[in-house]
């Protein structure tokens, strides 16, 4: 599959941006009282969200989970509105009502985030159902983790999607851990894609640190979905370089495992490929990093300067 230079640059850009965005969040978390709640980051996994979203059109829908920042930035969410929301400010994309964990960005067709592990797939099935019902030419893509694969809801959704041939792409982001439990401590299979056959859908394993490979798999799955052939299951093998959340000391992650995966970091990897292909120069990369830096700085400034919502506004937005 020929991927355009533009798409390749887009992937690299959203990876750089989300890395910078999240590195900044990690720093901010160290400052007492800056950021409220648990901070869950996708450091090292950016190729999944960036590769997948690059293969989607703006009108395609994503449903994401607790580890959402990269997915949302890759889908085109505004960094300022996200940052302000993560700061729980009134100018956040959800008026401070979601915080970092439940970001809803319907304007880029990322209508909701659930932190209930495994809850995304049934909702994604509903979105894909609506697309099919309205005969739209768009698809839904759902991110979920290796841990989530153990939730019954995921299977119910896979069965429904397979049965009704919904235009739905299941992306299992297998980052080796579900909380502190390693894959082999929460499931007896090495490859979660082994579940796909049980729902009559194709399943592929891709190197989740290779954005181009993720892109290709998603593009293939999307074509299939649009052709009315139904859902696909893509297992992206990747690794959570940081702890589950910012406060996790990662005691259970072997140090050499972490460093081995650091070597496989998806950002330098795509950079090197694009440089060697002549798609970008080393200077272009530096410029992208700089741009990300300034965007994130601006976002933080915006967030910090914004007011909190008033306490009483908490009473709003419950019912229409």
């Amino acid at each position: 599959m020929a991927i355009s230079a533009e798409k390749k640059k887009e992937m690299l850009w959203t990876m750089i941006l989300s890395r910078r965005f999240e590195d900044e969040l990690m720093e901010l978390c160290k400052i007492e009282g800056k950021i409220h709640g648990m901070m869950i980051l996708a450091t090292g996994q950016e190729a999944v969200g960036s590769g997948a979203c690059a293969a989607l059109a703006p009108e395609d829908v994503i449903i994401t989970n607790h580890r959402s920042h990269n997915h949302l930035l890759a889908k085109g969410a505004d960094a300022k509105a996200l940052m302000a929301e993560i700061f729980c400010k009134a100018t956040g994309c959800n008026k401070g009502k979601s915080g970092t964990l439940h970001l809803a960005v319907p304007e880029v067709n990322a209508p909701c985030t659930s932190t209930v592990v495994g809850a995304g797939p049934p909702i994604a099935a509903g979105q894909a159902f609506a697309q099919q019902y309205k005969r739209e030419k768009r698809v839904t893509l759902c991110f979920f983790g290796d841990g989530a694969a153990a939730e019954g809801s995921v299977h119910e959704a896979m069965n429904l999607a397979g049965l009704w041939r919904l235009p739905l792409i299941f992306i299992c982001e297998n980052n080796v851990y579900a909380g502190a439990q390693r894959l082999e401590e929460h499931t007896p299979v090495a490859d979660l894609v082994s579940r796909a056959a049980g729902y009559a859908m194709p399943g592929v394993i891709v190197d989740g640190n290779d954005a181009l490979a993720v892109y290709e798999a998603v593009a293939t799955a999307k074509k299939r979905a649009l052709a009315g052939e139904g859902p696909s299951f893509i297992e992206c093998k990747t690794y959570r370089l940081r702890g589950h959340g910012e406060a996790d000391p990662q005691l259970y992650q072997p140090k050499d495992e972490i460093s081995a995966w650091q070597e496989k970091c998806p950002i330098p990897r795509l950079r090197d490929t694009l440089v060697s292909e002549g798609v970008i120069t080393a200077a272009d990369f530096q410029a992208m990093e700089k741009q990300a830096q300034s965007m994130v700085e601006e976002a933080v400034r915006f967030a910090e300067d914004s007011p909190y919502p008033s306490p009483e506004e908490a009473l709003e937005d419950v019912l229409v």
Binding site: I123, Q127, K134, L319
Partner: protein
């Protein structure tokens, strides 16, 4: 006026709303092809009329059924999904409680979830406590949901039509005991608003607040007591959330006496909420202690004499009323 069982009334509401709005679809286990293809039942004939695109039989997957509703509603459709029996709500409850009810709030008001979850409830069928367990108190305790429990076929029709047009998630609980007793339903189109309770019988001596099939029990008791000169006022809530405090309080202000009647288990039932509201806002009017008439705190038993013992009846209500007169 036509006389319909509540199942038929629900059926008319579904049919009318599906004709009106192509975004309305129904889904659930056996809502199309059913093991009980009876014309008294809520989804009878809809598959034939609207086809399999809009009448979707689903796998036995309550979480997926509810998730389907949540996702499709956000995407602009108007799902009306069925959870076959109230106790199976447990299996759908994450999708309803943590998602349908909360995602709008967490989006800061950006998203809407115009969906209806229909559930059958009620003891009396020898099906046991895994099929019969009234859990309206669960949903009525959850901000972000509306909860409707009609006590007549006419209310069921008008309220379901309103529920389908409502932009919020609505839990719509039908009592199976009302499916088979035809009562008058207006022929012309009408909507019954979600929210207002209705005084189903005016009276001066005691207020009975009730809902769903217990309305019939209350009416029977009231008729008998009328013969003894006691005038019972019956407030049929119809909607538990939002709760029509005004009508309840006005009635108690008039009668000074309150009995709450519900089929669900006594302890922790929604009757407690009614009691609290009156004790908070109508205390000065109260002339006598509260009485609650409700199921005992046991699972619904199967054996006929025991199941009958479980369901609150008119004698119990009459006794309770007399205790506080």
């Amino acid at each position: 006026m036509q006389k319909l069982g509540m199942g038929q009334a629900v059926n008319q509401a579904l049919r009318e709303e599906m004709h009106r709005d192509p975004g309305v679809f129904i889904a659930g286990e056996g809502v199309g092809v059913s093991i009980h293809p009876g014309p008294m039942l809520p989804t009878y004939g809809l598959l034939e009329e609207f086809g399999p695109k809009r009448v979707r039989d689903t796998p036995v997957s309550e979480a997926a059924i509810a998730g389907l509703a949540v996702g499709a509603a956000e995407a602009g459709l108007r799902p009306v999904v069925e959870i076959m029996f109230n106790p199976f709500f447990t299996l759908a409850s994450d999708m309803i409680i943590n998602h349908a009810a909360k995602l709008r709030y967490m989006s800061g008001g950006k998203s809407t979830f115009p969906l209806v979850v229909r559930m059958k409830s009620g003891a009396g069928f020898g099906a046991g406590s895994q099929h019969s367990h009234n859990l309206e108190a669960w949903v009525a305790h959850c901000p972000g949901l509306k909860v409707v429990m009609p006590g007549t076929a006419a209310d069921a029709k008008g309220l379901l039509k309103s529920a389908i047009r409502d932009d919020n998630p609505v839990i719509f609980i039908e009592h199976m005991g009302l499916y088979f007793a035809p009562t008058p339903v207006p022929e012309e189109e009408y909507l019954t608003p979600i929210g207002p309770a209705e005084i189903k019988r005016p009276g001066t001596d005691v207020t009975v607040v009730t809902w769903s099939s217990m309305l019939g029990v209350a009416m029977t008791a009231a008729e008998r007591l009328a013969q003894e000169g006691v005038q019972v006022e019956i407030v049929d809530l119809r909607t538990l959330a939002p709760l029509d405090k005004k009508t309840i309080l006005a009635s108690v202000a008039k009668t000074g006496r309150l009995v709450v009647l519900h089929e669900a288990n006594l302890t922790g039932g929604f009757g407690g909420e009614i009691a609290a509201v009156v004790m908070e806002e109508g205390f000065s009017h109260l002339k006598a202690p509260l009485r609650r008439v409700a199921a005992p705190d046991i699972p619904v038993p199967v054996s006929p004499p025991q199941e009958q013992f479980y369901v609150p009846n008119a004698e119990q209500l009459i006794t309770a009323i007399k205790e506080i007169l």
